[in-house]
């Protein structure tokens, strides 16, 4: 306990977050091994990890850098498709699934980071809602381009086309690897709950360390007042790009997990389009902008909610929408916050105890 007291407030808060993740993992893993958990929840473990990583990584842009991005799913898409393509090509070459997944992960992250950098350079010159719409535009372009991409392989090597399979002009022995809107099928199912949790911990480690570093303080200074930050010699472009690229790379990692959790990978509006980008944004805002732990909890709740509401059948998504609105009002409306402060003092007391 003495050691805990000596640590800074931030470190302690971060350790608590790690603790929550590890504890949740241990509890769920025990439940899974003993078979005392529903198949639904067991199946939801990897998706939960994916959404947690996405929420934390987007929080880096929205909460720490202070810019609204509506194209986060685009980076996830890039990571998912490049890694799935690699894994599908290498399915018979690299037989160790762990090694193959690790390489796929590196490739997915690297390509997503490169995209983040390339897109970040023009995008970050803009401000506010204009920046938001341009990120949305890039996300949609990525989705659209993936949908017209055809790649096949035969004895002569790889063939590319943006039209259709016939245009690949393959020998009869060729196989289609990426089939346009039908995407990639037959990706090995290499994602596991353990890998997902490790990736969450790495994500948390990277993001929290960045926030508490010199670079992180520079990024937050830009968020709070760009002109003031510039005037004291902070390289605004460099730090903005740094945050944006790291965030894209982490989204790429989530994409790799996604691609290796299902055997089919297609790019639709709901999984890699603006709908997904908005869903991730909902996690971040509901959990508290800039609050990493809040992002994790919001991602978990909002992913579980529609599944747990299945009993309501036709009214499921309706109730989900209403709950979302109410939670937003409850968490954000100044009047609701005032009311909570009046009647629920436990939050305040807890905070004082932390001091």
């Amino acid at each position: 306990m003495g050691m805990l007291k000596k640590m800074s407030k931030n470190t302690r808060s971060n350790l608590i977050t790690y603790g929550i993740v590890i504890a949740a993992f241990l509890i769920m893993q025990t439940l899974i091994t003993t078979g005392s958990i529903s198949s639904l929840l067991e199946g939801l473990m990897v998706p939960l990890c994916i959404y947690v990583i996405l929420a934390v990584s987007l929080n880096l842009v929205v909460g720490i850098l202070g810019e609204l991005s509506l194209g986060h799913a685009g980076f996830m898409c890039v990571g998912a498709f490049t890694s799935a393509f690699f894994s599908k090509c290498m399915r018979d070459v690299i037989t160790s699934s762990l090694l193959r997944f690790f390489l796929a992960l590196l490739i997915g992250i690297a390509v997503a980071a490169v995209f983040g950098l390339i897109i970040g350079i023009p995008v970050l010159r803009l401000k506010g809602d204009y920046l938001a719409i341009v990120t949305l535009a890039f996300g949609e372009i990525i989705k659209n381009l993936v949908n017209v991409l055809f790649i096949g392989r035969d004895s002569n090597g790889f063939h590319f086309s943006t039209k259709d399979v016939m245009d690949l002009n393959m020998e009869p022995d060729g196989t289609v690897l990426v089939n346009g809107p039908q995407g990639i099928t037959g990706t090995p199912k290499d994602s596991t709950f353990l890998i997902g949790v490790i990736l969450i911990l790495i994500t948390l480690f990277i993001v929290t360390n960045l926030i508490n570093s010199r670079d992180g303080r520079a990024i937050m200074a830009i968020r709070d007042n760009r002109i003031a930050a510039e005037s004291i010699g902070i390289n605004v472009t460099k730090y903005k790009l740094m945050a944006f690229t790291i965030s894209a790379a982490l989204a790429g990692a989530a994409g790799v997990l996604y691609a290796h959790n299902l055997s089919t990978l297609t790019a639709t509006t709901n999984n890699f389009g603006y709908n997904m980008s908005i869903t991730i944004l909902v996690f971040v805002v509901l959990g508290g902008i800039g609050n990493i732990r809040g992002s994790i909890i919001a991602a978990v709740i909002l992913t579980l909610l529609p599944e747990l509401l299945r009993g309501l059948s036709d009214y499921r998504m309706l109730i989900y929408a209403i709950v979302l609105i109410i939670m937003m009002l409850f968490n954000w409306a100044p009047k609701a916050i005032e009311w909570r402060e009046k009647y629920f003092s436990f939050g305040k007391r807890k905070k004082e105890a932390v001091k």
């Binding site: 508290g288 609050n291 299945r310």
Partner: protein, 391 residues
């Protein structure tokens, strides 16, 4: 920071509540195993863009389940039936499958759309659960031996359409308008073009549209018109087709139209000017206007229960249940058997049965899970479907 802390603690509290609720619902559903009913589950989109297909399948199964139960069930056992929404998304489809597994499902009718089906078939294969999809057309959707389908696959529809057009000399110059962001549509398109070239048909224009821009088809139509197409092949669903027909009419473009099974439902579209569809031909296993008694009864019952004219999705789903019944009786399975035993018995039985259903007569299945049934070509005449030729 104070507010954020508070938010976090509140979220934690609600997380606890939600997980408590989760536990509650789990114990509720896992309690009823080993009962004396067959538990059949269905998966499809009942919300989201593709809700129309999922709802039709949900209703089609419901109708068949009610009839079979009233008739004494399968092998003397009643059927319990539950349908789960997947919003046509692979990940949610797997979630839906797991939900049904928790409920105690023994056989799966689904999923409705192709891509989710390809994801779910991995799961059913791992669990060795018998799966019969009413409408997933992609080849990979039933790539394992535990999975069968009721509808035609993409390749079979594409090549059957091309064969029919070639054999009957319907056209010399063909244009294709397809949905490039849709698995069903682009799947048929690819085999159609390959087969058409093999048959010596000339394809003068291939134009795509995407899910994000499916309101305006003027460019695609203009290109088909400029290329001098005398037949336009539409491997798409009827909502878009209704817009295409209306816009072609506006620009005085009147080629012959040829579609696939997605076209069924066009004439039942509320408020649609049926004169626009005059002369439209399409390949379908089912039309709601068919004269035979089985179809008439099905359509009347469906209308009475759900207030709409059934489309081919509902008919395929209805046939699925009767196929399961026939195979289950052939294999003589009972609900006490394990899921895997049921699956093994059904796999063999499916290849042995012959079904007279709404979507075809004398339907049989091969070991690859593909049905063998005859598609019918129908033509719209005077606002009604008329059977042109049973191939």
């Amino acid at each position: 920071m104070k507010m954020l802390k508070k938010t976090a603690s509140l979220m934690l509290a609600s997380a606890l509540m939600v997980s408590l609720a989760a536990c509650g619902s789990d114990s509720g559903s896992s309690g009823s195993s080993g009962s004396d009913t067959f538990k059949i589950g269905g998966i499809g989109p009942t919300t989201g863009d593709n809700a129309i297909y999922g709802t039709a399948v949900e209703n089609g199964i419901q109708l068949a389940v009610d009839e079979i139960n009233a008739d004494g069930g399968i092998n003397g056992y009643q059927i319990e039936y539950q349908f789960e929404d997947d919003q046509s998304d692979s990940e949610k489809s797997v979630n839906a499958y797991n939900t049904l597994k928790d409920w105690g499902m023994q056989m799966l009718v689904g999923t409705v759309t192709s891509t989710p089906c390809t994801a779910v078939v991995e799961e059913t294969h791992a669990d060795n659960m018998f799966q019969l999809t009413p409408s997933a057309t992609a080849v990979e959707s039933i790539q394992y031996d535990n999975a069968f389908r009721m509808c035609f696959s993409d390749p079979s529809q594409g090549s059957a359409s091309a064969d029919y057009i070639a054999e009957n000399g319907l056209a010399s110059k063909i244009a294709v308008i397809y949905n490039s962001s849709d698995t069903y549509s682009s799947g048929i398109y690819q085999t159609f073009v390959t087969e058409a070239q093999a048959k010596g048909l000339e394809i003068v224009a291939t134009e795509a549209f995407t899910a994000d821009s499916k309101t305006d088809f003027s460019v695609q139509l203009q290109k088909a018109k400029d290329a001098g197409a005398d037949l336009v092949f539409l491997p798409i669903y009827y909502q878009e087709a209704s817009l295409i027909l209306a816009q072609a009419n506006n620009m005085d473009f009147a080629p012959a139209w040829f579609g696939c099974d997605g076209m069924d439902g066009l004439l039942a579209l509320e408020g649609f000017d049926t004169s626009l569809a005059e002369g439209l031909m399409f390949l379908t296993p089912f039309t709601a206007d068919a004269e035979d008694e089985a179809t008439q009864t099905f359509v009347a019952d469906y209308k009475e229960n759900f207030g709409e004219t059934p489309n081919q999705f509902a008919a395929d789903a209805y046939d699925c249940l009767y196929s399961i019944k026939a195979a289950a009786e052939q294999a003589d399975i009972t609900p006490e058997m394990s899921i895997s035993d049921i699956s093994d018995a059904m796999k063999t039985a499916m290849t042995e049965i012959t079904i007279d259903g709404l979507t075809g007569k004398q339907i049989t299945w091969g070991e690859d899970g593909e049905p063998s049934k005859d598609p019918t070509v129908v033509v719209v005449e005077g606002g009604k479907y008329a059977v042109l030729q049973a191939e």
